[in-house]
Amino acid sequence: MNVALSSNKADSVVKKRKKSFLSDVKQNFYLYLLVLPGILYFVIFKYLPMVGIIVAFQDFNTVKGLFKSKFVGLKNFEYFFTSKDWLVVTWNTLYLNLLFLITGLFFSILIAIVLSEISSKYFKKVTQSLVILPNFISWTLVSMFVFALLSTDVGLINSVLKALGFIQEGKEINFYANPSLWAGILVVLKIWKTAGFGSVVYLAAIAGIDQEIYEAAKMDGASRMQCITKITLPQLKTTAVLLTLFGIGGIFHGDLGMIYAIVGDNPYLYDTTDVIDTYVFRMLRQMNDMSMSTAIGLYQSFVGFVIVYTTNYLAKKYDSDSAIF
């Protein structure tokens, strides 16, 4: 009886679906009208370029265009994976992003905890404003700062070191030709720009912790330090794990906006700063090799997709409400 009923119901659902789309458009005409510009945008600027992925399998020629260029199969991929570049850029992308992730996590949480321990409201407000400010500055301006600090002839760091007698005239540190320093420099810049802003989420999480837990702990004689290590930090774990998982989801995408703005086309520094995105970008501008760049971009998109999918699955498992979708 039950089975019959439910299959009947299913039938009617199917019928409803079949007749639906046009009448649905009629019924929800204005909603469709509202959503239409957005849909068009995504079709044109996000889905159409996916068709362009075929360039990766062609010897693309701008004159011949997308549909008449010669098909070459996996040759572009072969070329990339047999060069030593692919290991360098893949390694740099993963390594730099991992460094950014770990240091960002550490400093964001540290700032949040330290701010929540400060009792002077005025001091708290001013310092918080100052540490969030760099987030609103573009990376191109940061590259100007970097020049003012690191330039060999006029940079502040070199002139301070000279004034203090650590280095002699003519023996300035040539930052722009010394690749081994740049992982560290990029990490410092990333902390400078994002750690303060990143602390906002943790501050919100700290504000959300039940105050009664702290009061009960104080009654039992817990010190402030103990409150931090035994209550605050464990309570931040969920937020930290989730943000880290999302960070790992993006680990295969280098920060082109940052690295290109700061390093630019400085070949001395490629060894430690060249990530997949800057490599693709350079291929496009300097070699004008569309097919190679698309192939490398596809490699990145594909691996990135697998990583996002996995981390999103893990996030869902860890906390069912928190997955993006």
Binding site: F45, G52, I111, V131, L141, S223, V280, G297
Partner: protein, 294 residues
């Protein structure tokens, strides 16, 4: 006794750490400001310093002689204002439609948008589309159109709309209002804080835009401010340009290459510092809303 000592140490560390980190964050700003106000000769002699060794406004005089900054300002303001308004309209329209529970295909549309966050065609196909097939190179629209809807902002806004009780829209519907009227007259006025947050996200994104310009803009009148900074910093012939602008070469004249770079940076960062208090207020709120409800 022990705990009071520990408390003091903790306080000391907290205040000291925040003070030092704040200084760390603010020093570069002071450095470029001071450098831009320095005399070029003193900079060449001893380098940039946190306090100008020899005060001079010459760098500003020089950069304002050229109209590059003014035209970059004009371009940037136009596409920031136009772009932000268009983005807000299209994003909120889409977000509202898929927040309505009676809208049949809202989940499919949401996935359609979400998928673009997971996978994309990459830089080159997008570049080909925009430059070759849409012909938007050297057109101010290239700053705006390819950035109309940010999926993250769209979902943030949808989540906000979802919290608004359905009964409001339903009762308006009974009175004969259509969805467009409901969105603009009922929903958006209630969503002002969320719209302000998203608007600032978009606005700041446009203001700090330079990457689009590297790909699609070669017309000097259409440079964005941030792209101009890149150019000024990188271009080897910047000094020559300045020289030509000056026309005459005086015997004692030093081309203010370094200080003029810094002055350009200061001129472009100004507005951000100016609106920062507003930005901070909304961003912090919006970020928290997004993080908690995201």
């Amino acid at each position: 006794m022990k705990s009071s000592l520990e408390n003091k140490a903790l306080d000391l560390f907290s205040y000291l750490f925040m003070a030092l980190f704040s200084i760390f964050c603010i020093v570069p700003f002071i450095l470029i400001l001071s450098s831009s106000l320095s005399d070029e000769k003193s900079v060449q002699l001893t380098g940039f310093a946190l306090i100008p060794k020899q005060f001079s406004l010459f760098a500003y005089e020089v950069i304002f002689q050229d109209n590059a900054i003014f035209s970059a300002y004009k371009t940037t303001i136009i596409f920031t204002v136009m772009g932000t308004i268009l983005c807000l309209i299209i994003t909120s329209a889409m977000a509202y439609a898929i927040s309505v529970k009676t809208f049949t295909h809202r989940n499919k549309i949401a996935f359609f948008v979400y998928f673009t966050m997971l996978f994309n065609g990459g830089l080159i196909p997008t570049y080909l589309l925009i430059s070759k097939y849409l012909g938007l190179s050297d057109n101010i629209l290239v700053y705006i159109v390819p950035a109309l809807v940010n999926p993250f902002n769209m979902f943030l806004l949808r989540n906000f709309f979802k919290q608004i009780p359905d009964s409001l829209a339903e009762s308006a519907k009974i009175d004969g209002a259509n969805d467009i009227y409901i969105l603009f007259k009922i929903i958006l006025p209630l969503a002002k804080p969320a719209m302000a947050t998203i608007g600032l996200f978009y606005g700041l994104g446009f203001w700090n835009e330079w990457f689009t310009a590297t790909l699609f803009i070669s017309d000097k009148d259409l440079y964005s401010l941030q792209y101009l900074i890149m150019k000024v910093l990188r271009e080897v012939d910047f000094a020559n340009q300045l020289n030509q602008m000056q026309g005459i070469t005086l015997a004692n004249y030093v081309v203010p290459t370094n200080t003029a770079k810094m002055a350009t940076a200061v001129v472009t960062v100004g507005p951000i510092i100016f609106v920062y208090p507003f930005l901070q207020k909304y961003f912090v709120k919006g970020l928290v809303v997004g993080a908690v409800k995201g």
